[in-house]
């Protein structure tokens, strides 16, 4: 290192422009920031604010020539990166600067074993092969806390959980002991409990190796926990920059204050305890058979939902929480009879567990579901009006075209969208707006019971709060019964009167919201709460890794 005050990375007046079909989009507009050795800097902002693009330009990984830098310079240890030749860049990429991505499933090659994936990095940059490489791979996997690393060397990505895959990704990124690690939303796709573990790992690794970290996230909780300094980005500009503690205590810019104030908050509505039961079940089971042998005999079952009893009353919200794989979504689908289940399901006073598909069809208008992914749950080929009116075509057959448009407009107004936009296509809307469309689709039928399957997980933090408020308003207006499925207890606390904590298809704890949140009885619930509210990890074995 030359000179004490030379920065590791210096970015000055950097702009990024994307050109498509002659249209220019300015993703990043003259941003400047720097990063010292060993320091952790967070780039915070909502999706589309240009934070990922800024990080990718550090490694010149943007799709050039569609992307270009009309202005600015990026200096890595005094050396210019913008416009550098491929040789220089190859020396920097993976060697000096590494990156981990949001989605660990798609970032790993599904056809290569863990050993081969990590070993490949070593072979390319260090020329390590065979035994030497194997030794180093093991060392790295142990370092990132992958349990039973030795026996997992031959495992394929699909055999690992999301958290384990992210650990492998980190091992690959660390293989060459980089000076800078760029972490692009490293925990967004993970459960809260796993998120806490990964964050803890990243923090200890950066301290141990003296590695600088550029953390990209939309979650201010993570920033507060991890970063030394913060840059807040909005529409391609850095609007505020400062030490983490100072910025959180005394935010200067309006946008920062907006971000800080956008955690899901508020209290669930107080509903009458004697409200009529909308949906109830007793000892519900959803077992998927495991078949083996030539005759495909059922040898065992995957007990996705194993004996759950619950009652949802009018105007009430029952929150279902648990790690991924705990059977929350299966429970929701089972209650709506979208998958086969075993056990009584009473909806509006009538047993529906033995109804066939056409008997169920008439009830579908009264029970609806909103899915997690606002991008996957809207057909890209239908306009908003066509999406929202779909249920009306099935259930409101007496409505003519105009009446349906009318109902669509009403539903859109209700979820806070401009009805004039109903002839546009989903891709023209942001994630939050798309989730509103999905809610409008469910609400257009005026249901009594709605299953909300992680409706906020795929959204930015500030948008999550808006959706939660919207859901609460709708509940109040129409006296709806919700089954709210989430792994994020922050959101559940803001909506649910009653909480069911699930693990491996079974109930761990069940009770009123106050009771669960104020006085959790089991270690598992405590661990979920620590992870959600404080980003703290639990002792080993309480939650999955």
């Amino acid at each position: 290192m030359s000179g004490g005050d030379q920065k590791l990375v210096e970015v000055k007046d950097l702009s990024v422009v994307f050109t498509q079909d002659g249209n220019e989009t300015r993703a990043v507009d003259k941003i400047s920031f720097d990063l010292a050795e060993g320091e952790t800097l967070a780039l915070v902002g909502e999706s589309g604010s240009g934070k990922s693009v800024s990080a990718l330009s550090l490694m010149q990984l943007l799709p050039y020539p569609a992307a270009s830098h009309p202005s600015g310079s990026i200096k890595y240890r005094g050396e210019e990166v913008v416009g550098a030749d491929e040789r220089t860049l190859m020396g920097i990429r993976g060697n000096e600067i590494s990156m981990i991505f949001q989605e660990p499933m798609t970032s790993l090659n599904p056809l290569h074993t863990i050993e081969r994936q990590v070993g490949e990095v070593l072979a390319v940059h260090r020329g390590l092969r065979a035994e030497a490489a194997r030794k180093r791979v093991l060392e790295l996997l142990n370092k990132v806390g992958l349990q039973n690393a030795e026996s997992r060397l031959g495992a394929y990505p699909h055999e690992l959980s999301g958290g384990q895959r992210q650990r492998v990704m980190i091992a690959m990124a660390l293989a060459n002991e980089p000076r800078l690690l760029i972490a692009d939303e490293p925990t967004t796709a993970l459960d809260v409990t796993v998120q806490a573990q990964i964050l803890k790992l990243l923090k200890s690794l950066s301290r141990e190796m003296g590695m600088a970290m550029l953390l990209i996230t939309h979650d201010l909780g993570i920033v507060r926990k991890m970063a030394d300094r913060v840059c807040v980005m909005n529409h391609g500009h850095i609007v505020e920059e400062g030490e983490t503690a100072g910025l959180f205590d005394n935010p200067q810019h309006e946008y920062t204050r907006h971000l800080l104030g956008s955690e899901p908050k508020g209290k669930p509505l107080t509903a009458r305890d004697d409200a009529p039961e909308i949906m109830s079940t007793d000892n519900l089971k959803v077992w998927f058979p495991i078949k083996k042998g030539v005759l495909k005999r059922t040898v065992d079952h995957v007990k996705a939902v194993d004996g759950i009893s619950l009652t949802v009353r009018r105007g009430h919200t029952v929150g279902v929480v648990g790690e991924s794989g705990s059977g929350k979504t299966t429970l929701g689908l089972g209650l709506l009879r979208l998958i086969d289940s075993d056990g009584p399901i009473v909806f509006m006073g009538q047993h529906i567990e033995d109804d066939n598909w056409s008997e169920l069809r008439s009830r579908r208008a009264d029970m609806q579901i909103v899915f997690q992914d606002p991008f996957g749950s809207l057909s890209p080929r239908l306009s908003v009006a066509q999406i929202v009116e779909e249920g009306l075509l099935v259930h409101g057959t007496d409505l003519n075209y105009d009446a349906r448009r009318q109902r669509v407009a009403e539903a859109l107004v209700e979820v806070g969208l401009d009805p004039e936009t109903m002839d546009r296509y989903p891709h023209e809307f942001s994630g939050g707006q798309r989730q509103r469309i999905a809610i409008a689709r469910a609400m257009a039928l005026k249901p009594d019971f709605v299953v909300l399957d992680e409706p906020t997980s795929a959204l930015d933090m500030s948008v999550q709060a808006q959706i939660v408020d919207l859901l609460r308003d709708l509940q109040q207006k129409h006296d709806l019964a919700y089954l709210f499925i989430s792994h994020d207890l922050k959101v559940v606390r803001a909506l649910a009167d009653e909480v069911i904590v699930m693990r491996n298809g079974k109930v761990v704890e069940q009770g009123s919201s106050d009771q669960i949140f104020d006085d959790p009885q089991t270690d598992y619930t405590k661990a979920l709460m620590a992870a959600a509210f404080d980003l703290e990890t639990a002792p080993e074995g309480v939650v999955s890794s």
Binding site: A66, D373, D402, Q406
Partner: protein, 367 residues
């Protein structure tokens, strides 16, 4: 919101407005605009489409280009259009009550002596007109009269190529459309419902596609006299399998998409889900395949014609032209013409197919 209410009050105007709205929407769907741009960006494919389109369009009017009946005859103040109407020879003062043979010098004389005129098409031969005035034994080499010569029965090769091209492409198009409809339907049912239906369907298709289809067609063609439609039916028996695999795969993927689940939660019937939500996804794969299926359909017909098991004798056919070229090596214009026409037609379709593939390639967005 107010705008909507106003529209409802106006009733009829509203209908128009919304229909125009629908039309505009369909026309300006951004994803289709991008596809059309990608298609045009492949200039070879774009021009191939134009070239092929013009050739096909022109060949649809083959009767006006190559025909042994005049386009127009004026005779004693009357105007006759033999292309459209069959006039008996007696109308022109001849002896027979049958349709006039305008190539007969006697009939021509009758008309010209009466001061009438005959306007002939560009090529005064139809596909089955035999040139009886050949100076040499058939097949005659190219000359001013027969631009590409005649075949071994004295029929003009240019006329036969024009009609043959038309029948090949029409046959290919019809076969492709029917094969696609059946293939998409079968693939959709298999992929959407999965399970036993899929398993049994796949096994049946495996058995079916291992049947040596060419021999079967030859045997069938030997038993029943093949006409255009019978031949189409026989080839259809085997051609529909082509699309099943792709469509089935798209449906297997599509039925698990979240918006399909959402549609199910809304209570939509399976048929509605298939047509509205899953099929549009599968159509991309289908459309990409279409030019190549068209190609193989045309080739299948040509091959059968070449072997002599195809269209009824005397039909204009490119395969039959190739067979003549093979049997008359001393007349190379037959083989060359057949080869060039078929090669050009198939190449153009492959170029179009490549451009269609580009158009539907989602990775081609950043350019």
């Amino acid at each position: 919101m107010n705008a909507i209410l106003d529209k409802t009050a106006q009733g009829k105007i509203n209908w128009e407005a919304t229909w125009i709205g629908r039309f505009n929407k369909a026309r300006t769907s951004p994803i289709n605009q991008r596809r059309w741009r990608n298609f045009k960006a492949n200039s070879r494919g774009y021009w191939a489409l134009w070239f092929f389109g013009v050739l096909f369009f022109v060949s649809l009017f083959a009767e006006f280009i190559a025909n042994d009946k005049p386009l127009l005859v004026t005779f004693e103040g009357g105007i006759y259009m033999p292309v459209f109407v069959a006039y008996p020879e007696t109308d022109f003062g001849g002896d027979f009550a049958t349709e006039a043979d305008y190539r007969d010098p006697f009939v021509q004389e009758l008309i010209e002596d009466a001061g009438g005129t005959i306007i002939w098409p560009l090529i005064p031969y139809s596909y089955d007109t035999i040139n009886l005035d050949l100076p040499v034994p058939a097949p005659a080499p190219p000359s001013a009269e027969n631009w590409l010569g005649t075949d071994d029965q004295g029929r003009d090769v240019v006329a036969r190529v024009i009609y043959g091209f038309r029948i090949s492409v029409l046959f290919g198009l019809i076969l492709t459309v029917f094969a696609s409809i059946i293939g998409v339907a079968v693939g959709a049912v298999q992929g959407y419902f999965g399970g036993w239906i899929d398993l049994i369907g796949q096994r049946l298709i495996e058995i079916w596609s291992s049947v040596p289809s060419l021999y079967l067609i030859i045997i069938i063609a030997a038993v029943i006299e093949p006409t255009f439609w019978i031949l189409l039916g026989i080839l259809l028996l085997f051609q529909w399998v082509a699309l099943v695999g792709v469509v089935r795969a798209e449906f297997l993927r599509g039925r698990n998409l979240e918006y399909v689940r959402a549609a199910r939660a809304l209570g939509l019937r399976n048929v509605a889900i298939i047509f509205k939500h899953v099929l549009p996804n599968a159509m991309v794969a289908t459309l990409t395949f279409l030019p190549f299926i068209l190609n193989s359909s045309i080739t299948a017909l040509t091959a059968l014609d070449f072997l002599g098991f195809g269209l009824p004798p005397g039909s204009p056919s490119l395969g039959e032209l190739l067979a003549q070229g093979k049997n008359n090596l001393q007349a190379p214009w037959l083989g060359f013409t057949g080869f060039i026409v078929i090669a050009t037609m198939l190449s153009l379709l492959v170029f179009v197919g490549e451009a269609v593939r580009d158009a539907f390639d989602p990775r081609k967005t950043l350019q």
